[in-house]
Symmetry: C2
Subunit: 304 residues, 2 copies
């Protein structure tokens, strides 16, 4: 297998999820699972993460079915990271019932040699100290995207700011952007974040799409309107993973390419939330992706 040109780092988890209509235990989850599966439709990624001794062989098979390179996957003694959550009626709000860090607590993302020259890197949501550790191992990255969450904004802001300074693009959701910058206004928040260093800031707004900010302008990406949302878990990770997969495939990281990558991210993520875990992405064909992409573009088009 050739060296992966896209490396994705993040959490691997066993999720126990309850929605208003269904209860599903023991699902494959975690940021890197969603991101790698989603990226694979454009370019097969190399995965960096850790699983415990309880991690089912069938989940490894699932990764392989998406052509994910597993050289960077670590196997440790102990329990795999686990998340238990419940979604409220409108699917917008979720409550965490339990988080078990397990082997993720002592995770050190050491990259295989073959990963260190990767031009495209997605630092999934995890402790910013770990994200920095990954960055230190990449020799000459062309485009690095980092995700984060409210927890790191609250408890380890210094490390997070160091990450933000060193990446090409930061992605986070609307409320996190407000929390990190202390401003209600999204445009002001994006401007503050750009001032920290990255060329691009990508703010996720769930079913209301996402917005790209940068010196080459602002872009507004609508989400695919869906009649059926089964499980929104991992939507942001799938979105970012597909976006990075597209950029890697195109070997581009210019503003126009990022816009187009966001279309692809929205499309792939929309399939993901129509089922639990990776089930919405399993067996998905290029033709299905293309059809939905054409439909989304048609919904965005206007006479000039």
């Amino acid at each position: 297998m050739s060296d992966p040109r896209l490396v994705i780092v993040g959490s691997i988890g066993i999720d126990h999820i309850e929605t208003p209509t269904e209860k599903r235990p023991n699902l494959l989850g975690g940021s890197v699972s969603y991101a790698c599966a989603a990226a694979s439709f454009h370019h097969p990624p190399g995965m960096v993460g850790v699983v415990g001794s309880d991690f089912p062989e069938e989940f490894l098979e699932l990764y392989r079915s998406f052509d994910v390179d597993l050289q960077g996957l670590q196997h440790a003694e102990g329990q795999t990271f686990s998340w238990t959550g419940v979604y409220a009626e409108n699917m917008d709000n979720r409550e965490t019932l339990e988080t078990v860090l397990g082997v993720f607590e002592s995770f050190e993302p050491t990259l295989p040699e073959s990963y260190k020259s990767a031009p495209f890197v997605f630092l999934g949501n995890m402790h910013p100290g770990l994200q920095l550790h990954v960055l230190d191992q990449i020799s000459a990255p062309k485009f690095v995207l980092a995700d984060t969450m409210d927890l790191w904004i609250n408890i380890t802001r210094d490390d997070l700011e160091k990450v933000i300074q060193r990446v090409d693009m930061l992605t986070l959701n609307e409320s996190e952007a407000r929390l990190l910058t202390g401003t209600q206004h999204l445009i002001d928040a994006a401007t503050s974040l750009l001032d920290l260093g990255p060329d691009h800031v990508l703010i996720k707004k769930g079913e209301n799409g996402s917005m790209l900010f940068g010196k080459e302008g602002t872009y507004i990406q609508p989400a695919v309107p869906l009649a059926n949302v089964t499980d929104p878990t991992g939507a942001g990770d799938s979105f970012a993973g597909a976006l990075m997969g597209y950029l890697t495939q195109q070997d581009r990281c210019d503003h126009a390419a990022i816009r187009r990558a966001m279309v692809n991210g929205s499309v792939v993520a929309s399939f993901g939330v129509e089922a639990f875990s990776l089930e919405g992405l399993q067996g998905l064909t290029q033709e299905q992706i293309q059809t939905r992409t054409d439909n989304l573009l048609a919904m965005m088009r206007v006479e000039d």
Copy 2:
């Protein structure tokens, strides 16, 4: 003055508004005020509404400054309709402190002869019985848009459904669409509303833009991203007014024209919310509108 080709009916109010940063009493408000001012940038409308004996002459002057035809404006003895409201910190939620119906309570929207042949009609938010009364007087409308609100959905659903059956387009906000159809999912809600009769359903989502549903497809219109929102009152009315002004100017009501009209609606409404009352629309130039339209289109554009 020639017969108005666009007739707009609705409420005229004196608003007392408090935002997190400012308190402004005695502002010109009401759906027809915002809608007529916004429409005027594309086509001067004829206004149908009622004011009381306390209505300031300067507000009439303001209407005239927007080239609004006032033949349909009724003057009645008593107090003008009045609304007092407070916006919460995030400007998303507002609370009504007081509503005084005044002369609006016995309002009968009788149209001047010169209005009855208007091809374009916007039935602003008011009692559906009054909206039906207006429809009965229009001889051969080409395109009728109706707005509504939760109050009418709750207390006079039968009349509202009659209105919906008779118009070409229904507009309402996200939560109202859910309330009226009893479904959480926006696509299902839109489908149910289309089943009631109109060719188009336009769902407003505030700062998250709007969506057009119809048999010719779905269109997603982003709102203009704004750093400064001073007063969101009337945003939906300005949006709909500018949309109707554009269609009247173009003398079109096909799907492609409606998409383009939504761009214009978003742009004009964005100026409106940057100041209180009609202040954001006063003195606004075609050049300013064009520049912001170009900017918005650039934020929506993606390589195919």
